[in-house]
Amino acid sequence: MKKMIDFEILSNEKLNDQNHLLKITPLNHEKLPQIYPGQFVEIYVPNSKSTFLRRPISINFVDESQNTLWLLIQNVGNGTAALCASKIGQKLNIIFPLGNSFTLPDNQNKRTLLVGGGVGIAPMLFLGKVLKNNGFVPEFLLGGRSASDVLQIDEFEKFGKTNITTEDGSLGEKGFVTHHSVLAKQHYDKIYACGPKPMMVAISNYAYVQNIECEVSLENMMACGFGACLCCVEKTIRGNVCVCTEGPVFNIKELTWID
């Protein structure tokens, strides 16, 4: 069941020039509902005159013991700038949990690779935790333009081997995620990806050619986030569907991306 409730900001950590990590908890201390990896929230943005609509932000992590949600916010416009500038103790009105989720492989012997590019790493952290808690051995492949773009490496390493690529070679292997040597060395049964569209298209094509199961998380622009406005549609083999309700996670077989 979707809810609209106020959260309180417990911390706001600047991870690099563009990205902040907010940790938030329900203001009235109610227990967080069951949240699945890949789901997102819609945040009402206070203190931003030019921001009318809520901002959809994927759930980076759920810390059940602290009853907190982690949200990774990339400052890309006035709305996200206001969220990045928000203060500890401030209230945030949030609609959640929204969207579908990544699906776990059918048995624990299946090898999984979680690929994140830039701020697209966000849902991979929680997915990694859920996979590990369910007996899988998740492995990560994180990419960015340069070292400072690769976020939360320490957190990822808690849940699995973490491979890194940067376009300028300042951290990990040089190049795009699809060029990382781990893809040649290791067989994976399932790949999960989130990041810039060209990256996800490249991963999708790779997975398709290798006949690897693959799910991607899309971030089409949304107005409502719960299936009422029909603005965030993606073209699928079933026609235009809402990313907010039938996604954000799609099996690549459903999409029309493959070359």
Binding site: K2, K3, F52, L53, N220, A223, A228, L230, C232, V233
Partner: protein
């Protein structure tokens, strides 16, 4: 609670708070957030005779105090509505009104003929004002002659309450209102979205796949309010007002301008519980001003 009752032709609403087509899905999208039974009415997504895929993505651009959309009437068609959606929503204790659109007069008539058979749909809202489709839609709503023709044709096929939703993209909205009133419309609802445009300066490209789209939200409210006031003073049939309503005060303003009922649209995206807040706000307004019936306020400037 009788003090909130209003009438739109023969249709009685328990209160004047309705939801605008295209912003409220089929109601059920909001069932987690609000008690749908408290609404005066729900106008469901624009429905066409055949299923439509709508326009390509991107279909939305945020603007200061509003948004542009270019959804283009994506829906699964009248038969799908009747077979699958209607059974799911028809038992809510509110008036479910179907917004009907089409490319030709025949489309509108055939869609209306299918819907007239549904016991729990007491009214349709004829959409002659969608700016986002190439054929039909708004083209019927910007000429008094075309608006009259489609209203006349649907009137002869549809025996229940017929509301006609007007486009603001005209020189004189009162002409259109007069034309549809003369052909038997029971009510007019206004306004649909204003034709607008957004450009991405960095990419030097239009933001929307369709280049232009429909502007909605609080930014259009003053213009919508003016049009409601003009139409109220032109026609005798009840007016349903909408355009940027985002709080109870806006709703009262539209009622004072001449709306017998109001529709809340785009703001549902920002606050899915806003209709309930508006309803509560209207009630406390009536209390504070010792008003016996909301009907005393309609057009009472």
């Amino acid at each position: 609670m009788d003090r909130l009752k209003v009438k739109i032709g023969n249709l009685e609403l328990k209160n004047p708070v309705m939801t605008a087509s295209g912003t409220f899905g089929y109601g059920k999208e909001y069932a987690d957030f609000i008690d749908l039974n408290r609404l005066g009415g729900i106008v469901v997504k624009g429905t066409t005779l055949e299923a439509r895929q709508g326009n390509d993505y991107p279909r939305m651009a945020e603007t200061p105090s509003g948004m542009l959309n270019a959804v283009g009437l994506q829906n699964k068609g009248a038969d799908y509505f009747i077979d699958h959606l209607y059974p799911e929503i028809c038992d809510y204790d509110t008036n479910i009104i179907v917004n009907v659109s089409g490319s030709t007069i025949d489309d509108y008539v055939r869609c209306a003929e299918k819907l007239v058979a549904l016991d729990k749909i007491p009214a349709i809202e004829l959409n002659i004002s969608c700016p986002n489709v190439k054929e039909g839609g708004m083209s019927f709503g910007i000429s008094p002659k075309a608006a009259a023709e489609v209203t006349k044709a649907v009137r002869s096929a549809y025996t229940k309450t017929l509301i006609v939703k007007l486009s603001p993209n005209v020189t004189d909205i009162t002409e259109i209102a007069r034309a549809v009133e003369a052909e038997g419309a029971d009510s007019v609802s206004l306004v649909n979205t204003f034709l607008g445009m957004a450009i991405d300066a960095e990419k030097r490209k239009p933001v929307l796949s369709t280049i232009t789209g429909g502007l909605s939200g609080p930014c259009i409210k003053p213009i919508a309010l003016r049009m409601v006031w003009q139409v109220f003073h032109t026609v005798k049939i009840p007016v349903i007002g909408m355009g940027g309503i985002s709080n109870w005060k806006d709703a009262i303003e539209f009622i004072l301008a001449g709306s017998s009922a109001i529709q809340v649209g785009t703001y549902n995206f920002v606050d899915p519980t806003i209709t309930m807040k508006i309803l509560d706000g209207i009630e406390s307004y009536l209390d504070r001003h010792h008003i016996q019936s909301i009907n005393e306020l309609i057009g009472n400037l």
